[in-house]
Structure formats: structure tokens, C-alpha cells
């Protein structure tokens, strides 16, 4: 689980991709095979010829590709220490070595006995391999750049997107409403608000302990309950939550805020938001479900900014290892997020420098 580190990589200067990440591996497999297919199309004389050409290419490509993936997986810590350009060189040299090894060890598979072309075959195979690996590295470099830009934007959006002005002003008004009669409660409310805004203004790239995010979400719920009283109920169901789990900050609170704003507030009798948190194996599951007005009466004037923001951050941080699902029925709305169980890593900062 190297995700904690890959976050900082996105933000920093050039870095090799995290070869232990499932998304990276999938991309490598897809892109190299896509290029192989393109090559097969160019060589083939007709549609019928394509599968055979593809097979031919695959006999050489597949062993090299799989061996490289294993090698890179194993060499990841070492590659990280090399720095970017030396890392690129190392990857390309390994590709050359792996191509040569496969070519010579493969014997007659790659060198039919009746064919003597000097060293034409081996040279073009090496060239092809280096082209593929360089293209991939270039792609990952561009992708890192694109994503870190998005991350920057996401940071700028923190305040605007996550804490609604509606919530801010209504809560201040509510605190003013109780300050004369219940000063102590008003104090707690202001303290909770300070915590909430401190979190909203801090670095959006940071992972925070799951327990802290739960605590913050409970403070948020208490603020809303101050305004809405009995109308808002929150049912917390937590199962086997690990103490050391880290999650992106302000992941749970905005889900809750959305559930209050779109779900509970328009309901005259209010309702109960169910928050289900559990660990299953290597993953954490977060589920937030709220009742909603039947759709025909819809007051959902779809402010989806908060949800889009969450989805983008998850993509950025965990790539395909996090999943995001929305289910909505006639009278309920449910968001479910699955993300990898990332443990505390004290060395995060050191590795990015």
C-alpha cells in the first residue's frame, strides 16, 4: 500500500509512477497491448491476417511485459531513490536487457533456423521495446502533471465547495439565537465551527486519521442539530474500524452536509441519516444514506459540486483503487465510497523530498 506516498508524488516534481499501483499496472498493460494491436494492423494484409500478426507480436511482447512488471514491482523502492531521470534510464536499460534476454533465451521461437538476417531482428525488437517503454513513461509524466494541476484547483475550491454559505450564515444566526439563553452551548458551537473551518482551510492533499474525520463529522452534525433540533437524526454504524486508518480529509463531512441539505431539510418531519463505516479486508467502506422527498415534488436543484469534488479527489489520490457509487430511489439517496485501507506512514514527508 504505497498510496500515502503517491499523493505527495503527484504534487511534487517529476517522479516515476508507482509501479505497485493497480491502476498504473492496468494502464501499462492496456497501452502496450494497444500499441501492439496498432502494429499488427499496419503489418497485416487484411482483416483475416490481424489475429495472426497480433499473436506473433504477443509471443515476444507478453513475456517481456510480464517480466518487466514483476521486476519494476520489486525494484520500486530502489527506483524511487534514483531520482527521475536516472530512474527513466534504469527502466529503459532494463527493458533493453529484458528484450535481449527474451530474444536469445527464446531460441527458435524468435530465430527460425532457416532465417539469417544478420542482426536485423534483434535491433528492431530492442528499438520497439524502448519506444513502448519511453512512450509509457512520457504518458505517466504528462498524466502526473495534468493531475497535479487539477489538485491545485481542487485545493482552491476547498472552501467554496465544501462548506456552503447557507450553512455558515444559518449556523452563525442560530448561535446568536442561543447565545443569551444558553451561552455554554453557544460556546461549544463556535468551537465546533472553528474546527470545521480549520480543516476546510488546511492542505487538501493531506490524509487524516479516520477517527479524526469521524469526530469532525459528528461536530458538524451537532451544529446542524442545533438548528434543526429533533428533525435531524444521525445513526452511526461502525464496524471493525482500524485505529490507524488514514482517509482524505473532509471526505465524510461533505457527504453528510449533502444529505442534510438535499435530504433532511426539505422534509417537514425531518429524518434519519444513516452513516455506515466498516473495514473489509484491505478496504474501507463509507456509506451515507438519507431519506428524500418523493421525486415528483423534487426540490433537488442538484448542487452536485460537493460530490464532484469528492470524486475528483478520490481519482487523484487512489486512481482505480477507490470506487464511488450513487444510488437513488424514489425516496432515498445513497452514496457509497470504497477506498484502500491506508495505514499511518511516518516517513511520508521524507520520501517526497
Amino acid at each position: 500500500m504505497n498510496n500515502a506516498r503517491s499523493i505527495k508524488q503527484n504534487a511534487g516534481a517529476d517522479a516515476l509512477p508507482n509501479f505497485r499501483n493497480l491502476g498504473i499496472t492496468l494502464r501499462i498493460l492496456l497501452i502496450s497491448n494497444g500499441m501492439a494491436l496498432l502494429l499488427a494492423l499496419m503489418q497485416a494484409g487484411g482483416w483475416a491476417d490481424v489475429p495472426q500478426r497480433m499473436m506473433q507480436i504477443a509471443t515476444l511482447l507478453t513475456p517481456i511485459l510480464l517480466a518487466m512488471l514483476v521486476l519494476l514491482w520489486a525494484a520500486q523502492p530502489w527506483l524511487d531513490r534514483l531520482g527521475y531521470w536516472r530512474g527513466v534510464l534504469a527502466v529503459n536499460l532494463s527493458v533493453v536487457a529484458m528484450t535481449l534476454a527474451t530474444y536469445y533465451l527464446g531460441g527458435e521461437l524468435y530465430r527460425p533456423p532457416n532465417r539469417d538476417d544478420g542482426n536485423f531482428d534483434v535491433v528492431r525488437y530492442v528499438l520497439l521495446s524502448v519506444t513502448v517503454s519511453s512512450t509509457l513513461l512520457m504518458y505517466f509524466r504528462l498524466r502526473t502533471h495534468a493531475l497535479s494541476h487539477a489538485l491545485h484547483d481542487a485545493r482552491l475550491q476547498v472552501l467554496r465547495a465544501r462548506i456552503r454559505p447557507h450553512f455558515l450564515f444559518n449556523t452563525i444566526n442560530a448561535v446568536l439565537g442561543i447565545v443569551r439563553t444558553q451561552p455554554r452551548q453557544a460556546e461549544t458551537a463556535l468551537e465546533d465551527m472553528a474546527d470545521l473551518f480549520r480543516m476546510a482551510m488546511s492542505d487538501a492533499r493531506d490524509l487524516v486519521p479516520l477517527q479524526k474525520e469521524i469526530q469532525l463529522s459528528k461536530q458538524y452534525a451537532a451544529l446542524e442539530q442545533l438548528r434543526m433540533g429533533e428533525r435531524l437524526r444521525v445513526d452511526w454504524q461502525m464496524q471493525d474500524l482500524p485505529e490507524d486508518a488514514l482517509i482524505p480529509q473532509l471526505l465524510l463531512q461533505p457527504l453528510l452536509e449533502n444529505a442534510v441539505y438535499h435530504g433532511i431539510e426539505p422534509l417537514p418531519q425531518g429524518g434519519c441519516i444513516k452513516v455506515m463505516l466498516r473495514r473489509s479486508g484491505d478496504e474501507l467502506q463509507l456509506k451515507v444514506e438519507n431519506p428524500s422527498l418523493p421525486r415528483s415534488e423534487g426540490t433537488h436543484r442538484g448542487n452536485k459540486v460537493a460530490l464532484r469534488n469528492i470524486r475528483e479527489r478520490l481519482d487523484l489520490l487512489f486512481d482505480v483503487e477507490a470506487r464511488y457509487q450513487v444510488e437513488s430511489g424514489n425516496d432515498f439517496y445513497r452514496v457509497e465510497i470504497t477506498l484502500p485501507y491506508v495505514k499511518e506512514r511516518p516517513k511520508i514527508k521524507e520520501r517526497s523530498s
Binding site: R164, G177, T299
Partner: protein
């Protein structure tokens, strides 16, 4: 307004108890300089309407964002009262409404409520002109959820989804539900515009709920005005004539 009576009678409508608290506190502060009296409060639109029918007030402080019936809709129903109170809207953050308020010079207060601002609004309230219904209609991006009919000193709310048809008759419009008829004083074309998604015009003087259409029958006289088609509505015995101009709806809904 309150005539000779000097004391301003104020009514509070907000769904959040601490927000009502806040208004009470600040109103108390105002009362040191301006004679006023809080005559009541309500936590939702329906309750407010029931109270205000019996309780004469000068000013209603009215929250916009409330469940079920929002402040703008409530304000429209309050226009049916024999003595329409002055309405001062309150809102925490509502871009759309605030722009419209500015445009039509409707008084509103931003939450958190400030003493000086409330005082100013109350002072002005004595000479304020009630907001026009057309303006209120414009303030709300969504159609009302209810129609309201003032009958023998009571205001009846008619949930729009219960309305089968609306028919213009001389000065009034008949609102027909499965149970009974109500009379309202509004314009049919304004209603047609507001509830375009729900009703379809079958005749110069009649709109029917699309959902309520059960079928069409040939009958009635064939004249220049009528093509002889009648519409049958669910849960209603009577048939309504379709005009020649609107005959195309037989195909659309048949």
C-alpha cells in the same frame, strides 16, 4: 395598517427554533425604541396561515427556505387575507431571491439578523406597500405547491396535485378536486404559465390536469366552436368539452 394603534404587531415564521429565538431577542431590543409586540410565531407555512387568518398582524417576518411550503409561497397565500400584512423576508443565503428582491425593492433581512437592519425595516414597514402577487410569482423559480381559496373567513389550501381541472367563470376560476369545488380569483393564463408542466388547455376557459385524463369520448354538439370531443377525467362524472382549436390534444393524450 394598524390604524390608530401605535404598537406594531409582529409575527415570526421560521422552521428553525434558534432562528426564531434570535428574532425574538433582536425584536426585544428594538422594542426599546419602537413600540412593538410579538403576537405569535409559527414553525411552518401551514401553521402560520392557520394562525394569521384569525390573528390580525402588521408585519410578518418570514423565512424563505422552509420545508413543504417556502416563504414565497406562503406570502402569496397571505395576499388572500382581508388585511394583508407587510412581509419582510429573512434569508441566510439565496442568490436567486436576493437578486429579485433588489429588482422589485422588496424588503428582506440577511441572516444573521442585525439589530440596526431590523429596526430600519420595521420603521419603514408602517408605510410599506404590500408586495404584489405578480412580483411574488417572479420571486419563486418553482410553481406553488398549493392554490389557496379564501372562503368564509378561512383560507383553504388546495394541493396542486389534487386539482383535476381549472375553469374560468366570469370573475372567478373554479378549482375542481375529486371532493369539491373551490373558487379563486386569479387569471387562467397566469395559472397556465405557472403550471405548464401539469395542466393542458382543452378550451378557451379550461385547463385539465394531464395526469387526470382518463380518455376521450365523442359526444356533444358539433359546432364552429366544438369538434364534438369530450374529455373524461379520473374520479369525475362530468365530461368537459374540447374546443376545435385544441382538438390536437385528443391525439397527443389519447
Amino acid at each position: 395598517m394598524s390604524g390608530n394603534e401605535q404598537t406594531l404587531r409582529v409575527f415570526i415564521v421560521d422552521d428553525e427554533p434558534p432562528a426564531r429565538n434570535r428574532l425574538r431577542d433582536v425584536l426585544k431590543d428594538c422594542s426599546e425604541k419602537l413600540p412593538l409586540q410579538i403576537v405569535g410565531e409559527a414553525g411552518n407555512g401551514r401553521e402560520a396561515l392557520d394562525r394569521l387568518v384569525e390573528l390580525p398582524v402588521d408585519v410578518v417576518l418570514l423565512d424563505i427556505r422552509m420545508p413543504q411550503m417556502d416563504g414565497i409561497e406562503l406570502a402569496q397565500h397571505l395576499q388572500k387575507l382581508p388585511k394583508t400584512p407587510v412581509i419582510i423576508f429573512t434569508t441566510a443565503y439565496d442568490d436567486y431571491a436576493i437578486k429579485a428582491f433588489e429588482l422589485h425593492a422588496v424588503d428582506y433581512l440577511l441572516k444573521p439578523i442585525r439589530l440596526a437592519r431590523l429596526f430600519e425595516a420595521l420603521t419603514r414597514a408602517r408605510d410599506a406597500v404590500p408586495v404584489q402577487n405578480e412580483v411574488l410569482r417572479e420571486l419563486s423559480p418553482e410553481p406553488r405547491k398549493n392554490l389557496s381559496s379564501h372562503e368564509r373567513g378561512k383560507i383553504y389550501l388546495i394541493p396542486i396535485e389534487q386539482v383535476l381541472y381549472l375553469r374560468a367563470e366570469l370573475k372567478y376560476i373554479t378549482v375542481r378536486t375529486a371532493e369539491r369545488e373551490y373558487l379563486i380569483e386569479e387569471s387562467l393564463s397566469a395559472l397556465e404559465k405557472e403550471f405548464a408542466a401539469r395542466f393542458v388547455r382543452i378550451h378557451r376557459n379550461c385547463l385539465v390536469a394531464k395526469e387526470a385524463i382518463e380518455g376521450f369520448e365523442k359526444g356533444g354538439e358539433d359546432s364552429a366552436e366544438s369538434a364534438g370531443w369530450m374529455v373524461k377525467l379520473k374520479g369525475l362524472g362530468e365530461l368537459l368539452a374540447i374546443s376545435r382549436r385544441q382538438q390536437h390534444i385528443v391525439k397527443e393524450f389519447g
